[in-house]
């Protein structure tokens, strides 16, 4: 068995996967093969540390339809670890490959390493309540969420690129591809976030948060009710268990009570600050710093103080 494989249909994510791949290479001493879907991806991956890049040439661009082809390449090469970008499409492809290999698969790994010839990984269980450490026999498939790792810096020697024809699935017809209507802002990429909750009485009042976000150079995020029930912010700004998980250096929760379904999306932020009028709000337990007070009074004062 040989070969650390990486794949994601998302270019940035596939580059990020090279970082843990390079780490595994140190222990496994096996070459890294990256699978790519476009020429540009292929060249970049080759430059960032992939020893070999296989550029898949397929009739259809539907990622999931390439599962069988991807499996053939991995199993044909006798790969030992397959790192797949943990987008929803990626998880689908990864599970297919794992099933055909009769191999174990870790979903949404937070960390991974090789120990005693097995892949050891940590990930969350019970809706974020617990952290589990698992060991998987090789060959193993792992999906890694976006932004778990940073892309590596350029490698000394670029890898080779080989183009391969790939058959895509012919059974499923895809139509009506509709992009998510959103602001185009990716809250999960923001380094600072001001997050708003039900403590705000009406949509216009969000301006207080917007002003603060502007001086802090932060993006706006929100709790689920603000997006889903009130529609004050687009759904892709919602942070929580079924929304985004964020890890900014500063997460400022304003008027958010701090239910676990929300907190789990933000609890790995470097510094968490909460502003809430209810001193018993659970958010304070999850925060490094907090102010008990009326956000209508606190926010303008805070904005002015930060501006100075």
């Amino acid at each position: 068995m040989a070969g650390i494989f990486v794949f994601s249909e998302d270019k940035a994510l596939s580059e990020q996967l090279l970082t843990p791949a390079l780490e595994l290479k140190k222990t496994l001493s096996e070459p890294i093969t990256a699978l790519a879907l476009t020429d540009a991806d292929a060249k970049e991956l080759a430059a960032l540390g992939a020893d070999k890049v296989v550029l898949l040439e397929a009739a259809s661009s539907w990622t999931e339809g390439l599962s069988e082809a991807i499996y053939s390449i991995f199993s044909g090469a006798g790969g030992s670890v397959f790192l797949v970008g943990g987008t929803l499409r990626g998880k689908h492809v990864a599970a297919y490959v794992a099933a055909k290999l009769n191999a174990g698969m870790i979903t949404d790994a937070k960390s991974l390493k090789i120990e005693g010839g097995k892949l050891v990984s940590t990930r969350l269980l019970y809706a974020g309540l617990a952290l589990s450490e698992e060991e998987v026999t090789l060959p193993a498939v792992v999906t890694i969420p976006p932004r778990t790792f940073l892309a590596p810096s350029a490698a000394t020697n670029a890898g080779t690129v080989e183009t391969v024809k790939a058959d895509s699935d012919t059974q499923v017809a895809i139509s009506d591809v509709t992009p998510l209507g959103g602001s185009g802002v990716d809250v999960s990429a923001a380094t600072r976030l001001v997050s708003v909750g039900r403590g705000f009485r009406k949509r216009e009042d969000l301006k207080l948060a917007e002003d603060l976000a502007a001086v802090l150079k932060a993006e706006l995020g929100c709790s689920r009710p603000v997006a889903e029930d009130e529609h004050w912010l687009p759904i892709d700004h919602y942070i929580g268990i079924s929304g985004h998980t964020v890890k900014p250096e500063l997460y400022l929760a304003v008027g958010i009570s701090g239910q676990v379904q929300h907190v789990v999306g933000a609890r790995e932020s470097k510094v968490i600050v909460a502003v809430n009028s209810d001193e018993h709000a659970p958010i304070f337990e999850a925060a490094d710093y907090g102010i008990v007070g009326d956000l209508y009074e606190v926010l303008p004062l805070l904005t002015a103080a930060v501006k100075k």
Binding site: T87, L88, R89, H92, A94, A95, Y96, A98, A99, K100, N102, A103, G104, M105, T107, D108, L124, L125, Y126, A127, L129, A130, L131, S132, E133, E134, E135, V136, T137, A140, D169, Q171, V172, A173, I174, S175, D176, V177, T178, P179, L180, S242, L250, R267, V271, V273, E279, E285, A286, A287, D288, Y289, G290, I291, V292, G293, V298, L301, A305, V306
Partner: protein, 259 residues
């Protein structure tokens, strides 16, 4: 008149699980069982389809002997029959083993137009079972479905993905995994609860599935499970003057290098 099979898991209710302060291990002693959240959506979706178009809904589950507690519950939610496999192997079963067992059972049960699963189980949320089942049974698979319809033998599903949505159309039989937002499971009426006792349930012995011992060997094994405990500074400013609080916060933020 689709013949549907819903695969479900009987899980521990995570809201009853406590973290032991001494060593952060999990205390599941008081945790009650429940049908995994998204599996409930899958059951409801099948029930709705069959209510509208006729057909049948069967349910299938693999777990420890605890699954017996799930039978009346699942039968009160629409399915006319439930098949169950109770075996100690389920305790350590990973997604690989689970899929092997379920696929072997499905091969035994005959053909279905639609096999439904929840997106992932509420305890481990692997999100692998549906795809693995489809791969093992050589069936097409449509995942992350938020809207589902079936006409004749054609399945049409709207998928919700990270970047947007798309519609997948495919001829059955098909394996589908559904998202929580696909429907809101109805609360069973009392008549449905009482009628559940009269519906049939059938045990499938794992030894009758013809599985090789390797198929029951998990490939991933837990080394440890610990409660995720966040240690935060919890420095809360609650002076009567908002200005004072703000001043204290800004100097704390400066100290953290966040100005």
């Amino acid at each position: 008149m689709p013949k549907c099979l819903v695969c479900y898991k009987w899980t521990l209710d995570e809201k009853d699980i406590k973290i032991k302060p001494a060593d952060s291990s999990l205390d599941t002693a008081r945790a009650k069982g429940k049908i995994s959240d998204f599996d409930r959506n899958a059951i409801e979706e099948a029930a709705l389809l069959v209510e509208k178009q006729g057909g049948a809904v069967h349910a299938l589950t693999y777990g420890t002997s605890a699954v017996k507690q799930s039978l009346k519950d699942v039968l009160s939610r629409g399915p006319e029959k439930v098949y169950w496999i109770a075996d100690a192997s389920a305790d350590a079963a990973d997604a690989c083993v689970t899929a092997n067992v379920l696929a072997a059972a499905i091969r035994k049960l005959g053909s279905y137009d639609l096999i439904l699963c929840g997106e992932g189980s509420s305890d481990v949320f692997n999100r692998q079972t549906a795809v693995r089942l489809a791969a093992l049974l050589s069936l097409p698979c449509v995942t992350y479905v938020e809207k589902l319809s079936i006409e004749g033998d054609t399945v049409k599903a709207t998928r919700k993905l990270d970047e947007g949505s798309e519609v997948a159309t495919v001829k059955g039989p098909v394996v589908v995994s559904v998202l929580g937002q696909i429907n809101k499971p109805r609360i069973p009426s009392l008549k449905q609860v009482l009628a559940a006792s009269k519906k049939p349930n059938e045990e499938i012995k794992i030894t009758d599935l013809g599985l090789k011992p390797e198929s029951l060997q998990p490939k991933s094994v837990h080394r440890s499970v610990k409660g995720f405990v966040t240690k935060r500074k919890n420095i809360i400013y609650k002076e009567s003057s908002a200005a004072t609080n703000v001043a204290k916060l800004t100097s704390s933020l400066a100290a953290e290098g966040l100005r």
